[in-house]
């Protein structure tokens, strides 16, 4: 059944299979989802490696992402230039990392990048405030938000430098076994 497809060459599909956690069928299914987002933009023939990017607005309107408070950050983290416009590679990468087969460390790495709003490789107080604001949608007052950020740093900051590094984040994730199942987008 998979041999009849003309979208990818055999080597391309093999490469995708080896580089993501998806089987061939799932990769094809994901490709068609990608193609449905922008049928005029995305060609049905990827054998010539076309350079096609689906703009962020279309990505963010996918049903799996459209109500997620972090959809913009997710798209930014996984896109080529950090602006949210994604190629097919980025798209597959994103859903591969967010699938249930990805290991905890890989997910923790990308979760860290998602929560790192200013891209300075540390989750500082400002990043935390952004995260909390997005999570609570204005329900908490400003003092509560800063109190929360302070408490989070108290709990998770291992080397006490006032911000979370990747190690601190991973350490904290180790103590939150739910992370594996919640950091998961089903497609």
């Amino acid at each position: 059944m998979g041999n009849k497809q003309t979208v990818f060459t055999h080597e391309q599909l093999e490469a995708y299979q080896d580089c993501t956690f998806f089987t061939r069928k799932e990769i094809m299914r994901l490709f068609y989802r990608y193609q449905d987002l922008a049928p005029q933009l995305v060609p049905l023939d990827y054998t010539s490696y076309p350079d096609v990017k689906v703009p962020y607005e279309l990505i963010g309107s996918m049903p799996e992402l459209k109500d997620n408070p972090f959809r913009q950050r997710i798209a930014q983290v996984f896109s080529e230039d950090g602006d949210g416009h994604m190629t097919l590679d980025n798209f597959l990468d994103m859903f591969s990392v967010m699938s249930e087969m990805a290991p905890r460390d890989l997910k923790a790495y990308y979760a860290f990048k998602i929560y790192d709003f200013n891209n300075d490789d540390y989750i500082c107080v400002w990043d935390l405030e952004q995260t909390v604001t997005k999570l609570t949608r204005g329900e908490l007052s400003a003092e509560e938000v800063s109190l929360v950020c302070e408490k989070v740093l108290d709990e998770a900051d291992g080397d006490h430098d006032g911000r979370l590094s990747l190690e601190d984040f991973q350490n904290m994730i180790l103590r939150a076994p739910d992370f594996l199942s919640t950091f998961h987008i089903r497609i």
Partner: protein
């Protein structure tokens, strides 16, 4: 102005020094790079094509073209990724090309000697973009093919192994594709997860997992027990009335459904060629099913424990978990809003808890609380014991009751009472909440669970006791069939009650919550009690498979229907959970429950049956024997007469039947357990020490940064003209009056400048 390369090299060199002087832990953290590869080798050149200028190097990371590789520290057990990530253990603001080349080279070098399976796993786990992974894969393949000498060294055997593993991997892929295509209810689960979140989804996943168990049980029993019996079926002389579906008796008594129908016709067919030893088939099938279930449960439990068992050497309040474990599976707009609101409430509660944490209770209050807990436990245990006694009394007098009331539906009284108890008691237990006060809500959930478990398993236990001690020894005509029928009725009544609860109870609750008392609102899905219900029915099924081989089939249908009923009821009558439900920890606990009291209880019951009880004389395949296990003894005896199967006899006599063997085995297992326990203790101590070390080094870093800033301040004030232009560029890009969180980066820059000074 220093040339790009020189700047790179300096920064690289300095970068290594601070990490090198740290005493790095052996187990998990970064292994620093000590060697500098030739920067001109660009293996992974497609990763970044930036011009390394000073400003880009030192500027803040706003450059989107740059791929930023954070240090990935990995747990100790992933040794291969340790090597991989060690090659990425560079800092953040180092020049890209040379470092990535070094990284890429090291990475490729470490990937080449791996087996293809490990290599693919390593490539997949890399936190890189697709293009980089593809190139990595291509590079590794190219490098591998460029080593002809190595390949020639692999003799035919290794190549054979390689091709076999490749074929195995391909077949595993296609098999998993097949499984995914026939995987049940994928879309439904996605909708449930989207609307209610991961926690409710865990219940449905558990249901699906139990369904797989039952499908397996059914297939095995069907192939090995039921089909052979069907071929030797005798005609059923009983009449069929519709009541059989409820009572399980009547027409069904003489069908393949119950043990009593089975015959061991080995003797009959003995002369005409093929004979089927139903005794052995029965015991071995049931045994094989149980063994497979045992290992499956064991491995699932081990996997869950490994992933979810946390060793909190630091007590964490959990606010960080609330923030960072947002449920990404939720896709429904209203659910997202609701979850956001609930999260705010929980955060507020958590904050107030933290603020009140230091409030210690007075002795009086502690005493009151303790006595409330004690009273609640005494009452709940007492109620459980009372229920058990009631059921036992009822069961004992059931036979007289049945003789007095000739109504065939009267046999349903006992199952009815049991189901009523199962329905009412949990509600009673949850009312204890009004009296008891717990410090942590988690304790409340656990104590409620334990009470419910005690209740349900005591009921099963008392019934088993009754069946095995009274019914089996009561000299009835076909006691195994009777037990099978009892279990069937219990399951059926439970199913009916669940349906009624879903259709009527939850529906009524919704009407009340929405129309009459609107302050109540919609109810929330009680995951714990539903999962306990599943465990209870599964326990009954496991026990009952011996007496009623068709039971897995019935349970299959039941679970199938329950899935859809629960799903529809969920969508109509429930709202998403307001409190965070620790799904993974709970699932671990539930699977542990399924294994430990439930499955081991089943094993004990069946062991007692097979070893101690006398089969009925007129029905079933074991008729005529004095014990069920006698069939195995007879088989061994027959085998010992034939010469080609003496090894089986030897195994039986020396391994299975010998006490010395088990003694030695137990001793070895105990020794290994003790050693592992000691290793774990040692690792715990090491974790604590490492944690303290991290804290100390953070403090050191802060101290050094402050000192250095002070020194720089003094130098700058003393002689501002001494600074050469390039250093001023450096300074301007990394200003002195940085915010504290840039200070660490500056540390490296300052040191680089000093190194430059030393070199010059």
């Amino acid at each position: 102005m220093l040339s790009g390369d020189q700047v790179n090299e300096i920064i690289v060199e300095v970068e290594n020094v601070p990490y090198g002087v740290q005493s790095h832990p052996s187990s998990s953290q970064i292994v620093p790079e000590k060697t500098l590869a030739n920067a001109s080798v660009s293996l992974v050149s497609s990763i970044s094509d930036i011009d390394v200028t000073d400003s880009q190097v030192f500027s803040n990371c706003n450059d989107k073209k740059r791929k930023q590789f954070l240090r990935c520290s990995t747990p100790a057990n992933e040794s291969f990724s340790q090597t991989l990530h060690s090659s990425e253990s560079m800092g953040l603001d180092t020049p890209r090309t040379s470092h990535e080349n070094i990284q890429g080279q090291k990475l490729i070098a470490s990937l080449i000697p791996m087996t293809s399976r490990d290599r693919i796993k390593a490539i997949r786990n890399q936190p890189r973009t697709m293009e980089e992974k593809r190139n990595l894969r291509k590079m590794v393949d190219k490098e591998k093919s460029k080593q002809p000498g190595r390949i020639l060294e692999l003799d035919g055997c290794a190549q054979c192994v390689n091709s076999i593993s490749l074929a195995y991997r391909r077949s595993k892929n296609s098999l998993s594709e097949l499984f995914n295509s026939i995987s049940l209810w994928q879309k439904t689960l996605k909708v449930i997860g989207g609307k209610f979140g991961t926690s409710v989804l865990s219940y449905f996943n558990f249901l699906r997992w139990l369904l797989k168990f039952n499908i397996f049980l059914f297939i095995v029993t069907f192939s090995f027990i039921i089909i052979p019996q069907l071929t030797m079926a005798e005609k059923n002389h009983l009449q069929f009335t519709g009541l059989e579906f409820l009572t399980g008796a009547g027409y069904f008594r003489d069908t393949v459904m119950y043990y009593g129908f089975y015959t061991n016709t080995e003797n009959q067919h003995g002369s005409s060629g093929t004979s089927y030893n139903m005794q052995l088939a029965y015991i071995f099938t049931v045994g094989a099913c149980l063994v497979v279930c045992f290992f499956s449960l064991l491995f699932s439990m081990a996997r869950y424990f490994r992933n979810n068992f946390i060793n909190p050497h630091i007590h964490s309040r959990g606010i960080a978990k609330l923030i960072f474990c947002w449920d990404f599976t939720v896709t429904h707009k209203s659910t997202v809003k609701l979850k956001q609101k609930n999260l705010s409430t929980e955060i507020r509660e958590n904050l107030s808890e933290i603020l009140q944490e230091n409030v210690k209770l007075t002795l009086n209050q502690q005493l009151i609380r303790f006595s409330a807990h004690l009273a609640a436990w005494v009452v709940s245990t007492g109620v459980t014991i009372a229920c058990c006694i009631a059921i036992y009394y009822l069961a004992e007098n059931n036979s007289e009751f049945l003789e007095n009331h000739r109504n065939p539906g009267a046999v349903l009284l006992l199952p009815f009472v049991v189901s009523c108890i199962n329905l009412v008691m949990p509600r009673l237990y949850s009312m204890f909440r009004l009296v008891e006060r717990y410090e942590m809500p988690r304790h409340e959930v656990y104590s409620l669970l334990i009470r419910n478990i005690l209740l349900k398993l005591s009921i099963v236990g008392i019934l088993c006791y009754y069946w095995l001690n009274i019914v089996a020894l009561a000299d009835e005509e076909c006691w195994e069939t009777l037990i099978g029928q009892e279990i069937y009725r219990l399951l059926l009544m439970d199913f009916v009650f669940s349906l009624a609860d879903s259709f009527l109870g939850e529906f009524l609750r919704r009407i009340i919550g929405m129309r009459l008392i609107t302050s109540l609102g919609l109810q929330e899905f009680d995951i714990a009690s539903n999962v306990l219900e599943l465990i209870y029915t599964q326990t009954l099924v496991w026990i009952g498979t011996f007496f009623c081989p068709l039971l897995p089939f019935i349970q299959m249908i039941t679970l199938f229907i329950m899935f859809y009923v629960k799903n529809i009821s969920l969508m109509m009558n429930f709202q998403p959970l307001s409190k965070a439900w620790r799904a993974s920890q709970m699932m671990t606990f539930f699977i542990f429950l399924l294994f430990f009291p439930s499955f081991t209880g089943v094993l004990c019951t069946l062991a007692i049956t097979i070893w101690r009880l006398k089969p009925s004389a007129d029905c079933g395949p074991f008729r005529g024997l004095s014990f069920f296990i006698q069939s195995i003894y007879n088989w061994i005896d027959t085998l010992s007469t034939s010469s080609s199967y003496l090894w089986v006899v030897w195994i039986y006599q020396n391994l299975v039947g010998s006490v010395h063997f088990f003694f030695i085995l137990t001793l070895i297992v105990l020794i290994i357990t003790y050693l592992y326990w000691q290793i774990i203790e040692g690792r715990k101590i090491m974790i604590r020490l490492l944690h303290e070390q991290i804290i100390n080094e953070g403090k050191d870093k802060m101290f050094l940064i402050e000192k250095l800033i002070k020194l720089q301040d003094m130098e700058k004030r003393a002689s501002p003209t001494l600074f050469t232009p390039e250093r001023r560029d450096v300074e301007q890009s990394g200003p002195l009056h940085v915010r504290e969180h840039d200070a660490a980066r500056d540390l490296r820059f300052r040191r680089s400048v000093q190194e430059d000074n030393l070199k010059a």
